[in-house]
């Protein structure tokens, strides 16, 4: 005979326990949140260990500021119908967006692969990609104060660069910037998967430097390019990494819906591409150095 349950004591009846358990979806969400917190927490702690290095990286992203100083006196902007204020706003936005869409997963993955650090991670029940995503997000969090400082200096030097006070548009720009990060990350992750075929996939990644420089809007807003080049650029994923979110943030002539539609289109292509490459590549993994 089963002993009576003590008043107030938790029931040991499995059926009662089953009833008390939250639904599977809730449990999964909680588990995912816990993993996210743990990964971000540990990666943030790790990034703080490297804060000096991160300041240097952040400073190396000052190109939009330099480009602004070059373009501010040039007639091409006026010819393209951009006012000096629009230029200033665009480059301030580009400075910030660039800082939060820069990715380095190919270098981290390649090093982990060559040094045999990948193996223990592959044996844990968590897809490897999330560790690298967490590392990037933690690094962005570490950059935040330095980027804020740089943006303040930019605004102090060029007050006209201050974006229009439209909270909704700024929020949408923030989301577009994050979408840009994912597109940038997935482009590089697809190249990273080539580490399974060639140990030095980062060399291939360097081939992307030129298209990113020109087609993402890092050197100049795409509006100043000839129509043919601009059209070509808009048919690639690169504007979504910088130009589109920066235009949105700076109050440029662009609709938020178009920015998100474009971003989601590239995501829809890049996610399955990465899944395919992972599936094919992991079969070739030889656990080098481990």
């Amino acid at each position: 005979m089963r002993p009576p349950a003590r008043a107030g004591a938790p029931s040991t009846d499995p059926a009662a326990q089953q009833l008390r358990r939250p639904p599977a979806l809730v449990r999964r969400c909680r588990a995912a949140w816990r993993i996210t917190r743990a990964l971000l927490g540990s990666q943030y702690a790790l990034m703080l260990e490297y804060r000096a290095e991160i300041v240097l990286w952040a400073l190396s992203g000052l190109m939009p500021l330099l480009m602004y100083s070059l373009w501010s006196g040039a007639p091409a902007g006026a010819a393209a119908g951009l006012s000096p204020q629009q230029f200033a706003r665009y480059f301030l936005a580009a400075l910030v967006v660039r800082q939060f869409t820069v990715v380095w997963v190919v270098y981290a993955f390649e090093e982990d692969n060559l040094l045999g650090r990948l193996s223990p991670l592959l044996l844990q029940p968590l897809p490897l990609i999330w560790r690298y995503v967490a590392a990037h997000l933690a690094e962005q969090l570490t950059r935040l104060p330095f980027v804020a400082g740089m943006a303040l200096v930019f605004v102090a030097l060029v007050p006209a660069a201050l974006p229009p006070a439209d909270p909704l548009r700024l929020l949408l720009a923030l989301l577009a910037m994050h979408l840009g990060f994912w597109i940038s990350f997935l482009i590089q992750y697809a190249i990273t998967m080539l580490c399974f075929w060639n140990e030095r996939a980062s060399a291939l990644e360097r081939l992307l430097t030129i298209p990113i420089l020109f087609l993402s809007g890092l050197l100049a807003p795409l509006d100043v390019f000839p129509a043919a080049v601009r059209n070509l650029a808009l048919h690639t994923p690169f504007p979504a990494i910088l130009y589109l979110p920066a235009q949105l943030a700076s109050g440029g002539p662009i609709a938020a819906g178009a920015v998100f539609a474009n971003g989601l289109f590239w995501l829809a292509l890049l996610v399955p591409l990465n899944m395919l490459l992972w599936k094919a590549g992991i079969r070739r993994y030889a656990a080098m150095g481990a």
């Binding site: 588990a31 816990r34 993993i35 917190r37 743990a38 990964l39 927490g41 540990s42 702690a45 790790l46 260990e49 490297y50 045999g116 650090r117 193996s119 223990p120 991670l121 592959l122 044996l123 844990q124 029940p125 968590l126 079969r283 993994y285 030889a286 656990a287 150095g289 481990a290």
Partner: protein
């Protein structure tokens, strides 16, 4: 029912074949040559739940490659493999929760952070509730004699402390199948003994199955009632260490201290003479003839002291592999 069942397992690697020097580099650049290396071939064995099995073999024998296949890190190129009812190469989450792979030279702990940070991540990844994780960390830390070390950055720990922390991280989810590749590599004698005692205790407490490779025979003799000896990717022996010793070294070493020196030819009928200098003599005698030979030595020679020893197993295995390589 076996927890590990592999049949005709094989793994071939494709490696670049480059000659040294500038000419070799240029030739390799223009026309890349590759060759196939058969790291494991036709390997078949089973392991029952709860067993501790030692995996022996010289460098390049295929031990680590086999462990990588068993844990699902790499895909076999031939044969069939079932581990705890799963195909390891699929690496599904249910399988990964059952196993752990510890590699003596590699680490999963985050180098610049204290082990506790990595343990928190592992607890979340394996879905271990916080209270349970805390209790397990306390228990394992006490067994491994780890305390404040868990709060120091991993890079500041000694090799022994780091290895213990690695073991703790690898066992936090209480795996029932442990693949250990040189877990005592580079550790001092005390740390080696501590790790061995811990592994034996873990096996006793949890009934976990352990497959262990080690270059230290002490690890094998202390932990493994059964050994698998592989050489050139193939299985050479599957059984007890004692049986291996019988098979590889069917002789005993007899050391004599004589009252007066005797000429070397005087020992011709007793066995294989290894050393004869002054009053000190060393002979190899067949096991079956040991009692009779010792009796004759005592009766026919002026023996002051006599000692019978089993030749060290490492030495015997080394000699065997050397002989096989020379005949190959």
């Amino acid at each position: 029912m076996p927890i590990i069942h592999c049949q005709g397992l094989g793994r071939t690697y494709r490696v670049a074949d480059k000659q040294p020097g500038l000419a070799g580099t240029l030739r390799h650049f223009v026309r890349r040559r590759e060759r196939l290396i058969e790291a494991v071939r036709q390997l078949s064995f089973t392991i029952e739940p709860g067993e501790i099995v030692g995996f022996l073999g010289p460098n390049g024998a295929g031990k680590t490659t086999t462990l990588k296949m068993l844990s699902g890190l790499i895909h076999p190129t031939s044969g069939s493999l079932q581990v705890a009812g799963h195909q390891p190469a699929r690496r599904d989450a249910a399988f990964l929760r059952l196993i752990t792979l510890v590699m003596g030279q590699k680490q999963q702990l985050i180098w610049d952070l204290p082990p506790l940070d990595s343990l928190a991540v592992n607890a979340a990844v394996y879905g271990i509730p916080d209270a349970v994780a805390r209790r397990r960390i306390e228990e394992l830390a006490s067994m491994l004699e780890l305390g404040p070390e868990l709060r120091r950055p991993v890079r500041k720990l000694s090799l022994g402390q780091r290895m213990k922390a690695e073991l703790l991280a690898a066992l936090l989810h209480e795996p029932s199948l442990l693949f250990l590749d040189e877990p005592t590599l580079g550790l001092d004698v005390n740390a080696q003994a501590a790790v061995r005692a811990f592994l034996a205790d873990y096996n006793r407490r949890t009934g976990a199955t352990v497959l262990l490779t080690s270059h230290y025979m002490g690890d094998i003799t202390a932990l493994c009632p059964r050994v698998l000896l592989i050489h050139g990717g193939s299985l050479f022996h599957d059984g007890s260490l004692e049986a291996l010793s019988q098979r590889l070294a069917p002789w005993r070493e007899v050391r004599l201290e004589l009252a007066d020196p005797l000429p070397a030819d005087r020992f011709a009928g007793f066995g294989e003479l290894e050393h004869c200098e002054g009053r000190s003599v060393r002979l190899l005698v067949e096991r079956q003839r040991l009692t009779e030979t010792v009796g004759r030595l005592l009766a026919e020679c002026p023996v002051l002291d006599l000692e019978v020893q089993e030749p060290p197993l490492e030495e015997t295995i080394g000699r065997l592999f050397h002989a096989r390589e020379e005949t190959a």
